[in-house]
């Protein structure tokens, strides 16, 4: 918070339209120093440094350990919306105490930042700068299309390390692969230093075409890339909707409900079509129907082949093409009757299905922290039931964290264990667990046997609290 003057200067610097990079075209091939300098002048002010505390979960106890860390942020709107790479927030790591440092060296300015709900279809995070009312920030605007080509040179601007005073730097890279499916993906030809993850990517025509990212999310078929560790260009159309319409700060609130059908599926390969005597036109083969799902209610059966969903033909022949179906389902409206065409044992069949809102997933499940025994538990959600292959009649709460040195820790309890009974009380919900803990706190028993499921087996843990 050294000076306010810079913000004013930026405002004057043509920022009403955003930093659309200096209008200097460059021949394909190496970028000239003049080109790089002009781009840096235009883009660097929108690059900021995010300092935050990452709360990382311990595998053993589920407890969080804090460490200070940083990331590159890119201001994408004049009111202080910052985009950064998705690693800032994950199932195992939550950011807090976010500080946004805008500007460089002696002229930087520090703000509080608030993390917004992470999009689940692109691996980026958004942070809202808590500036003064009406305060304006330098920002970048992205090109609406990218069409990069193999071998094309790109220019990146990032932040160097602490010992270099977080100075802004430039790197040049090339496009090493253009992958068209499951969606257009551009790979970068060389490793990316940490301070350039999330950096703006500029092409030879001075267009800011995207940012540097790693790994697609599972929702967009990311499984294919998860272990690649290969740097990619996240092209602007992937995240434009979030800049246009930023997520809210409330992690539990979704801007629009995500629809759920409740099936697991696989593509109708030509071989499978041949085997079943079906036309080799592709389709979505239903391999599992989740109990209690809209699909089950609509009468969809295992082995059905969906050929059309809400009027859109389904032509998946490869695993990567199933993504189209899952994406379509997610974006379909909840509560509307949707026509589905399918083949059942070779015969065409028309059904209609009403999708429901996706059930709460483990990461959004209700959580309860009790201090007496040191247990943090969550409600059992559909995704956990499927992941752990729990018996259908399993009702309980799942241990999320065990406080180090607590009675629960001493008894050998660990995250992932499902509590079915606490003392003499059956536990099927968070409320019942809370109630059972409260009763134990009042009765102060010398020992509390806790009946749990751990993996395929059940058994007892004995808590021995000392009440004095």
């Amino acid at each position: 918070m050294r000076t306010n003057s810079l913000a004013a200067v930026w405002l004057l610097g043509g920022l009403l339209t955003g930093v659309a990079a200096a209008p200097v075209a460059e021949e394909a091939g190496a970028f000239s120093p003049a080109f790089i300098a002009s781009q840096q002048k235009a883009v660097a002010p929108a690059i900021c440094l995010l300092n935050f505390t990452a709360e990382v979960e311990s595998q053993r106890t589920g407890e969080t350990q804090k460490r200070s860390t940083r990331a590159l942020g890119l201001i994408v709107s004049p009111d202080g919306l910052v985009m950064t790479h998705g690693h800032m927030q994950s199932d195992k790591s939550t950011p807090s105490h976010i500080r946004v440092i805008v500007g460089e060296g002696d002229e930087d300015k520090e703000y509080d930042g608030v993390i917004l709900k992470k999009p689940d279809d692109i691996n980026v995070c958004f942070v809202r700068i808590q500036g003064e009312a009406g305060e304006r920030f330098p920002f970048v605007t992205f090109a609406s299309e990218e069409n990069l080509v193999l071998g094309e040179r790109i220019l990146l601007f990032g932040i160097m390390g602490e010992t270099l005073d977080f100075a802004r730097g430039a790197l040049t890279r090339g496009i090493s692969a253009v992958i068209e499916k499951p969606r257009m993906t551009y790979c970068i030809d060389d490793a990316i230093p940490f301070g350039y993850v999330g950096a703006p990517v500029i092409d030879a025509r001075s267009r800011i075409v995207g940012v540097v990212g790693y790994d697609l999310t599972p929702a967009e078929g990311g499984e294919l890339y998860v272990r690649s560790g290969h740097p990619l260009v996240y092209q602007a159309p992937l995240f434009a909707k979030y800049i246009q319409n930023p997520p809210t700060a409330d992690a539990l609130e979704t801007d629009h409900p995500i629809a759920w059908i409740g099936v697991f599926s696989q593509p109708l390969t030509d071989d499978l079509a041949e085997y079943w005597g079906l036309p080799k036109n592709g389709g979505v083969v239903i391999s599992t129907v989740v109990e209690g799902s809209p699909a089950e209610a609509a009468g969809i059966q295992r082995g059905d082949v969906i050929t059309s969903f809400d009027g859109t033909p389904m032509r998946a022949k490869k695993n990567s093409e199933i993504v189209g179906f899952t994406k379509l389902v997610r974006e379909t409206g909840v509560g509307r009757e949707i026509p589905v065409k399918l083949l059942r044992q070779g015969q065409p069949l028309d059904l209609s299905i009403v999708l429901t809102e996706r059930p709460v997933s483990a990461k959004d499940a209700e959580e309860f922290v009790e201090d007496t025994f040191g247990l943090t538990v969550r409600a059992l959600t559909t995704d956990v039931r499927i992941l752990l292959n729990l018996p259908d009649d399993t009702e309980g709460v799942i241990v999320r964290r065990v406080k180090s040195g607590s009675w629960a820790h001493l008894a050998g309890m660990r995250p992932g264990v499902i509590i079915l009974r606490f003392g003499e009380y059956p536990v099927t919900t968070i409320a019942e667990f809370e109630d059972a803990v409260n009763k134990a706190r009042e009765a102060r028993p010398a020992e509390v046997p806790v009946f749990c499921r751990a993996g395929a087996r059940t058994g007892f843990f004995r808590l021995q609290p000392r009440w004095d």
């Binding site: 499978l272 391999s287 295992r302 082995g303 992941l387 292959n389 046997p449 087996r457 007892f460 004995r462």
Partner: protein
Amino acid sequence: MKWLSLLALAAAGCATMGSPGEHAVIRAKNKVIPSLVHIRPVKETFASGQKQEYVVEGSGFIISPDGYVVTNEHVAGDSSLVRCVLYNKDEIDAEVVGTDRYTDIAVLKLKSSETNLPAAELGNSAHIEPGQTVLALGSPHGLSRSISKGIVSVTDRYLGEEGPRPAPYNTWIQTDAAINPGNSGGPLVNLKGEVIGINTRKLSGADNVGFAIPVNTAREVIEAIIDHGYVPRSWIGIRLQEMTSKTDDPTQRGVVVADIDPLGPAAAAGFVPGDVITAVNNVPIHARFEEDLPPVLKRIADLPIGTPASFSVRRGEETQAITVVTMEESDYKGNEVEFSEWGFAAAGLTPAIVQAARLPSSQGIVIAGIEVGTAAAESGLRQGDIVLSVDGKEIAGLTEFQALYDEINAAAKRLVLLDVKRGALTRFELLKLEPGADNDDATPEELITNEENGEHPDEDE
């Protein structure tokens, strides 16, 4: 006589004569070492989807003049040939009389007409105590005729039922005598030269923490294997926990029912988790600590197979008798068979797999391994998948699967559909068979001819 005692002192300090302790060690070693056997089995594995053989090094000891040899199941089990090198360096092959995975014991019989082989004397492991000197004999890292010395660290270590090698029926002698890979199956002996244990495990990452099966456990298992070829045991489908898992109150006697196999006899008889079993056929049972569990588990295993047994059960304040008809316990690992034309190896289902996979019945087979570059590998099939049906026909077990496999191969089908369960999900996996693709006899000439004729094996008919 002062000179005599001076002489004794001098002798004690003399390295060649040895201390009284050394005498005892050497005497014990001399007594048992002629029985020591270096064992080199050729084992079979199906983890890669096809049968592969490899040689391991282990230890064992002769227990009868006519050539019965004891070693570990993990040494001699699943082997096609067992080569034994005796202490006099004679090499003799042995047949596997039988194995028991639950106690990790195998009994071999040397293929020799000799009737005067040096048999080791089995001691009494009930009479050992921590601190007593023991010797471990065997072939650490294949170095035969090795001896290490230590003490008994603990007489009754419980290593439990969890993990890849459950050991429900015995506690272990823990020793600090050096035990290394290759020591497995060798004798742990006292200073009388009697075998008190079979060296079997070590704690990796730790120093001097080895474990031996007590000889009293082994003796019964060896007798059963010699009589039946295996150890018949009763099973009712429950998992037990010690009393202290629920209460530290020493007046509460019995053993806690922790888990019930939904398809087992105990579930059918109405047991529920949390029940406390206080007696079996009116004989009280009690396991306060986990070390007390093996005798209780063995009591149930020793019940006659297929007959009703009465369990006294305390549920809350009430005590009741529950009658359960016992079943025979199955091996915890099914036999593995290779199905090379399709590119995988599979095993029959065991109650443990059925319970873990939440199967509605014990019908099906489990994929033990996938061979690279085969139809199975090309499909989405994975190790651990459970195959429930083939071309719409449900499979009861490995035998039925083998019959279907032979039938389908004889019909030279190109596509075979497997119904597969993987965790909570089911999937369709299509095997695209290429008749002749697995034909190892094809000569290069034949392949060239095929190509010249334009007959590509991939081509559709």
